[in-house]
């Protein structure tokens, strides 16, 4: 197994872990943080697959825009999920 395959497998496991956290957490701000980490690692995966333009687009949308818009939406509504 080459080291490239090991890198991709570790990144994919981390993406799955971040996505599960984003769904599982009750605090919506923590969920947004987990989603930002997951999209960050997705950009790293695009980078490893030799697609730097897609990685730049994913970084711009996932890290900056999505987090900012979700935080603004939580600010206007409520933070804790109701049971």
């Amino acid at each position: 197994m080459t080291i490239l395959a090991i890198l991709q497998i570790v990144i994919l496991i981390l993406i799955v872990a971040g996505s599960v956290l984003a769904v599982w957490l009750k605090d919506l701000l923590a969920s947004v943080i987990a989603l930002a980490g997951s999209s960050l690692l997705l950009a790293l995966q695009f980078y490893l697959l030799q697609a730097p333009d897609v990685a730049i687009a994913e970084a711009g949308v996932g890290a900056a825009l999505t987090t900012a818009i979700f935080v603004l939406a939580i600010r206007k509504t409520q933070r804790k999920e109701e049971e």
Partner: protein
Amino acid sequence: MIVALPFAAAGLAMLGFILVCMVRLSVGPTAADRAVALDTINTLVVATMVLLGAAFDLVVLLDVALVYALLSYVGTLYIARYLERGLS
């Protein structure tokens, strides 16, 4: 393909550090812990991108790391401003 193996091994070590930060992101009791874990993951991903750009021997890949280092700051800034109740 990877041409410089030590850089790729260093990138793999960075992924191990990211794994430790993901543990803090999952068990962190407050949102501030998770925000700091996310910021550390941001920095580690930028370091990984630089190391893998050296491992692939492609100069183009360093632009992604540069853009990412600029943009990851914005997300952390928004979360921090929300935590300080200053986001209007």
